[in-house]
């Protein structure tokens, strides 16, 4: 199979009539890790949610394609089956639906009818991956995210990613609220998946995560678009100097476009 090829061209997105993303471009190929950094309120999470097709966000212009297919024409579930994955900042809790059942339904949704993954094989794979991510085996039968701590929810997102093997994975502030040990576990999970068959987009506030997941490209987002791109060194520079030098360099006074983080 060819390497994944994910392209975002001139993306414009609004929430309730207010434009948040104002012409964003991004090109991710299999094997690459891209990081998007930026202060709060610059449109990072809007980018993640609108790519996944959250109904709250309205795409008003631009193109998004995965392997040549038009993602914007697809519903959220179709995008997922096309190979897009979003590890969410605040995943929902769904009482009464076990983690294992949820992941199995998600996998089976990708299979043709009658070719569903055998139950035993599924559980063996799930337990292996849970072990790698340091997740207690009982979490398989716990209700989806219900009563999980912040760190447990994040690890659970990574577990789903490793079970579903997407072609493009977006991690939206996967590092927020994690202690250093949990951060390492999450980073290991991502690094162990790295291959030409998957491209990553890591959205983060802090450079800390990028010590453990080394990006090939770093983009800085302000005012709803990417204002500067570079390699891993850019992230280190931002960590050392903060965002203000960049704002000064670019002549930006207010970098935000939205009130919520």
């Amino acid at each position: 199979m060819a390497k994944p090829n994910f392209q975002v061209e001139d993306l414009h997105v609004s929430i309730e009539g207010k434009e948040i993303l104002k012409g964003l471009n991004l090109h991710i190929r299999g094997g690459e890790i891209h990081a998007i950094m930026g202060p709060n309120g610059t449109g990072k999470s809007t980018l993640a949610s609108s790519l996944m097709g959250h109904p709250h966000y309205e795409v008003t212009g631009g193109r998004v394609t995965l392997d040549g297919q038009d993602l914007l024409e697809m519903s959220t579930d179709e995008r997922a089956r096309a190979g897009l994955f979003l590890a969410m900042q605040y995943p929902s809790e769904v009482p009464g639906v076990s983690n294992a059942n949820f992941i199995r339904q998600a996998l089976n949704a990708r299979m043709e009818e009658g070719k569903e993954i055998p139950v035993l094989k599924f559980h063996r794979t799930l337990q292996e991956k849970m072990k790698q991510l340091n997740i207690d085996p009982v979490f398989a039968e716990r209700y989806l995210n219900e009563g999980f701590s912040g760190g447990e929810k994040k690890r659970n997102e990574i577990l789903q990613m490793s079970m579903l093997e997407p072609r493009i994975a977006i991690l939206d502030e996967i590092d927020s609220g994690l202690d250093i040990d949990a951060l390492k576990v999450v980073a290991n999970g991502v690094n162990s998946m790295k291959s030409d068959n998957i491209g990553f987009l890591i959205i983060t506030h802090y450079q800390r995560l990028l010590n453990y997941i080394v990006p090939d490209y770093v983009h800085v987002m302000m005012q709803g678009r990417i204002v500067k791109s570079g390699d891993a060194k850019l992230a280190e520079e931002l960590e050392a100097k903060g965002y203000d030098w960049l704002k000064e360099e670019l002549g930006i006074e207010d970098e935000t476009v939205e009130v919520d983080a």
């Binding site: 996944m52 519903s75 579930d77 769904v94 009482p95 949704a109 990708r110 789903q160």
Partner: protein, 425 residues
Amino acid sequence: MTEANTVSLQVHAVSSAFQEPEWVLRLREDAWQRFTEMPEPRLEKTDLRKRGWETGTFVASPTGVPESVRHYVNNLDHPYALFVDGHLIEVKHTEAQGQQGVIFTDIHTATLKHESLVKEHLASVVKVDDNKWSALSLALFAGGIFLYVPRNVQVDVPFESVHVFTAAQSGTYPRNLIVADELADVKFIDVTFSPEQKEKFTSSHVTEVVAKAGSRVHVGTADEFAKGATYFVTRRALVGKDAVVEWTVSDVSNAFTVELVEDILEGTGARGETRVIGVGYGRQHMDLTASMVHRGRHTESDITMHGALRERANSVFRSCTEIVKGAVGAGSEQHDRMIMIDRTARADAIPMLLIDENDVNRCGHAASVGKIDPNQVYYLMSRGIPQALATQMIIWGYLHDSVEALPSAPLRDLVVARIERELSR
């Protein structure tokens, strides 16, 4: 008086069909008298004025057992009694009973063979003058079981009654009486199958439970009421010292139903737990009250009601906790959640706390009515699960714990199949 005379013939027809003793006929006649004399009840949120009180005619000989019901009972490996239009078709006994002095028989036979036990307890918990439909039940009851578990006898397998209603010209009046003596432990299952009815007959179903000191009773039900008739359903338990009564009640209907599930927590340390699963569709009107009356000291109760409504279903789910003066140290929680699946459905969740005692241990309620959380749907869809399946998974998830609490595997399968049928339409 013509009305009373005409239908009092019905009372005699029922009583003679079951060859009941004279004292039962007297009870019925007295109940009929009260039924005709009682004023029209007024219910908040349920308009009975257009429903009428037609009782239909008693069916003297039942038709056959429908295939789906035959299939269901054939899969039961615990004791059961099968009734068609109030007539006993068959009773299956297993070794679980008999040898320990357990009595499991139809209510009519019980009035002959176990007269003193029945006399003592019949209409002692759901009384003749509670309301118009409790009087109606005692006047016309046909079918139902008598279950008696002696002191210190614990039975693992459940006892079950299965009612099928096929007659289009009659209301339905099953009446169950369950008596758990001290330290007894028993499970009872009550299942109904009913067809659509063209006529607006009135039906009254009653289950009364006497749970003596230290006993445990769990009643699981699966009702399926079709449109047409008016169904009054009364399920009440009198719970003695340190006894526990659990109800897991399921109703998948499009009928006009007024139901009460109530525990009278009489003895010190008595405990009640009620779970309700309500799935309404069509033009269903359901008025369901889960009630706990705390009379004893240190009594505890929990109510959990989950409703899912489709089409033009309109439901009122009330949870009511009453703590009377003197019931010190009582504790109670209510959790009610209604999901309206279709825009046209309507639900009310009404929590009620009536507290006359100052010394209360815990007392809480949480009620919500709404649509399915769109963020949950989005989350499931973001993993590739199609919207329709995502919605079903969320509804199942929220009914899951209550369905799991139903006391037998065939009952769970039946309820799951009924809910699935209505969710996937």
